[in-house]
């Protein structure tokens, strides 16, 4: 099936087609959902070896200039000041009500900040940053692709090309020469596994991807496997598990708020967020294990023992590594303890489930 003309493509689109990908629209891009091996095999391969994902649809932004760290701290609750050069941090753009506008990665480099935001939010994020940061400090990067290589063998594969990766810790970042290209590489990912995310000049992205795919450990994986992997790892998907009406406290992301930031505030929506830290949230994000075999998808209603609504699933499906359905959602705090019995309304019938600890699989990184 060919893509409607309105969808954008990444620099790896032709390669995906050659690899036999099945495509789907995601955040305005025609993206590979799965390859002929299928989501299950791609998922398992990532957990066992290394999988290559094209995430070039995501927004890459450079922030550079005087006072940009203080300016960025007005938009996020993370402690960016304390972030060391060569380190990366997960943080959030918050709105005036303390809701989450997007989640993002910030890498502090020698002379600038490298920011990666979600594809679905990148236009708004870029405008938001431009509006609140000093003039001329924010630049969207549109000439680089983004490739994630994820799995226990991912770092070994990269080390074969540039051994310096071995000294980079998880959530660290460095510049590497890969395939003769200047790549910005962070040891991070969205699968729960060890791995790297590589920002590569767009003109060399296909050659680099081909080189990586030629390594015996590597197979391509699409957005389908990316979703099942991140769900098992308990990682949030913006627009599903996080949105403008959900605060960092509700989302269980209080750990992303720096200690100094908790005391000082000073970010958009700080009053609402800090008040909630004190008074407690109205709803909380939890892991959920259905007791039967039927997967419970996003928007499945969660009920208590007398069938009163207590929340909703925001991400759910089958966990290939768990070998059973898994989900995440929000419930009222009274029902948030691990092991609490709940009901899930699937096609009109209540199915038993329990609140479960996140992640569903042990983390593969140190």
């Amino acid at each position: 099936m060919s893509a409607p003309e309105t969808l954008l493509t990444t620099p790896l689109h032709a390669l995906h087609r050659e690899l036999g990908a099945e495509f789907g629209g995601f955040a305005g891009y025609d993206m590979p959902i799965r390859y002929p091996a299928g989501i299950m095999a791609e998922h398992q391969h990532c957990r066992a070896s290394a999988a290559l994902f094209d995430v070039s649809h995501m927004g890459q932004v450079l922030v550079k200039g005087p006072n940009v760290i203080a300016a960025l701290e007005k938009l996020v609750p993370g402690d960016i000041e304390a972030l060391k050069v060569g380190r990366q941090r997960y943080t959030l753009f918050t709105n005036a009500r303390g809701g989450i506008m997007d989640d993002l990665m910030v890498t502090r480099r020698e002379t600038d900040l490298f920011v990666v935001v979600n594809a679905s939010c990148k236009t708004e994020d870029f405008a938001h940053m431009k509006a609140h940061m000093p003039p001329g400090t924010v630049a969207m990067i549109d000439d680089r692709a983004l490739i994630a290589l994820q799995g226990p063998q991912a770092v070994a594969v990269i080390a074969r090309m540039d051994p310096r990766i071995s000294t980079v810790p998880f959530m660290g970042a460095t510049e590497l020469k890969l395939n003769g290209l200047d790549c910005w590489v962070s040891r991070s990912g969205y699968t729960g596994e060890d791995g790297v995310e590589i920002s590569v000049p767009a003109h060399g992205a296909e050659a680099l991807a081909r080189h990586l795919l030629a390594q015996p450990e590597v197979m391509p994986a699409g957005l389908g496997a990316r979703d099942s992997l991140r769900l098992e790892a308990g990682l949030c998907l913006y627009g599903a598990d996080l949105d403008q009406n959900t605060t960092p406290v509700e989302a269980g992301l209080t750990w992303t708020i720096g200690k100094r930031r908790k005391l000082e505030g000073g970010f958009i929506g700080a009053e609402a967020v800090l008040e909630q830290l004190f008074a407690g949230p109205r709803k909380v994000r939890v892991g959920i294990r259905p007791e039967g075999k039927a997967p419970a998808r996003a928007h499945t209603l969660i009920v208590d023992e007398t069938n009163n609504e207590i929340g909703e699933i925001t991400s759910g499906g089958f966990g290939p590594t768990v070998g059973a359905p898994v989900a995440m959602g929000y419930v009222t705090p009274d029902y948030a303890d691990d092991g609490t019995a709940i009901g899930l309304v699937i096609r009109g019938k209540v199915h038993p489930a329990r609140i479960a600890p996140l992640p569903f699989v042990p983390k593969g990184w140190k």
């Binding site: 099936m1 959902i33 998922h43 075999k293 039927a294 997967p295 359905p325 096609r347």
Partner: protein
Amino acid sequence: MSDVRYTKDHEWIRLEGGIGVVGITDYAQNALGDVVFVEVPEAGKALTAGGEAGVIESVKAASEIYSPVSGEVVEGNAGLDGDPALVNSSPTGDGWIFKVKLSNPDEVGKLMTEAEYRAFVDGLD
């Protein structure tokens, strides 16, 4: 001799006397991807042609199974409970989904023959 007919929703039905065995086609299982759960209809359930008869869940999403004919469910495939991937590995064999006692055998005539279905699928890509 058995006669297999097809729907535009990619179900097949194989007639064995007054009973129809129903499953999804190879094209459908390939489009769905790895099947992880099948909600098969229970014996006794009344079905109408084109009406919902069950649900197939792949890793990716849930999809409805529609009954090719009207009638009463005789049996759901219990084997799919332990091994839903049979729908992928053997969509027209062990991966059948339910058996139905036809209430209006004339409905079968409206379904596609194998040649017609093949032409239909060829037109989709």
